[in-house]
Symmetry: C2
Subunit: 320 residues, 2 copies
């Protein structure tokens, strides 16, 4: 079965949903392909404090379902399937999924990226409720609390230093040794001297443990011995993985970390294929930014579709 | 009286408020300078259908006050003053306002832009309730309705063609003659033949008239004679004016239409001075995009302030 649409969006997270609100409201027929959860990382985030428009914050699940309802109200469709391949047809793009082929005039890739996880027992259970991957998102919940930070690279050290704006003490859990730039290392040393950060080398987390369903500690091995860190929460900074594996062989240009490169119109190097949100090179991992890019991408896609219709390359811009 | 802050934001519209939510939540002391209404154009928009997160839409005033409450909850301050000048001090920026001087480590310009208006009686009264300036925002409210479009340039013709997705008929009111690109002119001619668009040349709108407080018609002069167009609403596309007049002499680079040029970090050509939202070159005039850029700008400003503290130019990026 081949479905034909103006636009196929790969993913159904905040950036995809925002784009779909815009395109469907403007009668650009749109289907989103989602292999996992509608709402992306937002949907599995306990509480979102900083998405503008909700004075007191909102549950991640509620924000995701509001966005889904809004997109569906205008006619957006969601197909629960995994995209295996994107290629060029004659006058259209071919999107191969686990549930058949889609033909579209344009494609938006909004598959997001994932925080590299510890893959230890308890990590999923306490995601967003003790186990965190974003200091900007969740740091403010740990004012005057004790936390652990996992990681020893630049981002782990930088985020640990940032988290001291809130946390009273940080245990920095480093698998081998700290590999941060000289200036970060210097500032880290200073915080260690002040007793604000304690660095634990040779630590490999083995589990997250709770107490009556509430996060209580990080379990780990240190040089072969069992150790534990009783803290109020743990932040994990061991890397980001963009969801771009399915683009292998597509010809779409990625940056050295695997994120999609785009121009100022959020278009990839392939005409008619756009990218927005956390899968894009330069992404901030913030819902507001992903949503904003989704809206912008929708307008750029509208322009693209109109130009295709007119067989026109660029419209002269009007100065005012 | 001189107030010292980490960040001064010029403006208090959606982009400014989004940035302030982020910066204040991360303990970057922030004051917004606003000469008019908090919430910008959003605050005076009757109904906002496409800001992601509100399934059924939200009143513009309510969205603006939610954003304001959210920013103030984290400690953002608003100073009701007009900014006259931005200049460089020794280690800080000087923002001169009608209510004294502010010193800041960084400045975000988020003053937005304004739709060029007709400046006729009734226009303000029916703003957002019959008189519109954005087809993407409000076109969908006019499904199967008759509307008028004012303007004869590329954007007016392009938006009129777009509005035919919704409207059953359009009266195109043109002051002198249509000045659109050849391809737009050709498509316009086709719609005229189909009876979808009627072009009225030599028309100068003189007023918007209502009936029991409800929009009813556009009054105009055509070749010296009084005429009127009884429609369900009117869209005005006669240009955009970025709010950048106060930047004369600041050294901040603008594009040919007066919008602020920025790099990929939303920084202007002057270090430590950033711009986001509808005042930025390439702006979409969409709340979601402005909000997203505000959040992104806040993260870039955080990075900038940290680099200043470390006297560091760039942090090595980590590949994952």
């Amino acid at each position: 079965m081949t479905i034909k649409k103006d636009l196929v969006i790969v993913g159904a997270g905040p950036s995809a949903l925002a784009a779909a609100v815009y395109t469907t409201r403007e009668e650009i027929s749109t289907v989103m392909c989602e292999k996992g959860v509608v709402g992306g990382l937002a949907a599995i985030t306990d509480w979102i404090d900083n998405y503008p428009g909700f004075a007191k914050g909102i549950k991640g699940m509620d924000l995701a379902s509001q966005m889904q309802d809004q997109a569906e109200r205008f006619g957006a469709e969601i197909q629960y399937a995994e995209v295996a391949e994107i290629s060029d047809g004659d006058d259209f793009k071919i999107v191969k999924t686990t549930d058949g082929e889609l033909h579209a005039k344009a494609v938006l890739i909004a598959t997001g990226s994932a925080y590299r996880q510890l893959n230890v027992p308890g990590e999923k259970e306490f995601y967003g409720r003790g186990v965190h991957f974003c200091a900007t998102c969740d740091g403010a919940f740990y004012r005057d609390k004790k936390i652990a930070v996992v990681g020893g690279g630049n981002s782990a050290v930088q985020e640990a230093l940032f988290l001291l704006k809130f946390a009273s003490h940080i245990d920095l859990l480093v698998r081998s040794e700290v590999k941060a730039s000289e200036v970060l290392q210097r500032e880290l040393d200073e915080k260690v001297k002040q007793g604000k950060i304690t660095v634990h080398l040779g630590v490999t987390p083995t589990g997250i443990s709770g107490d009556n369903g509430k996060f209580s500690k990080v379990l780990a091995k240190q040089n072969g011995k069992d150790v534990e860190f009783t803290v109020d929460g743990v932040f994990v900074f061991i890397g980001l993985i963009p969801n771009t594996a399915f683009l292998n062989g597509s010809g779409i240009k990625l940056d050295e970390s695997g994120f999609i490169k785009t121009d100022a119109n959020l278009q990839t190097n392939l005409s008619g294929i756009f990218a927005s949100g956390d899968v894009r090179s330069g992404a901030t991992m913030q819902i507001a930014s992903a949503v904003g890019e989704g809206a912008t991408a929708a307008l750029k896609i509208r322009e693209y579709l109109e130009k295709q219709k007119h067989h026109l390359i660029t419209l002269p811009t009007e100065s005012v």
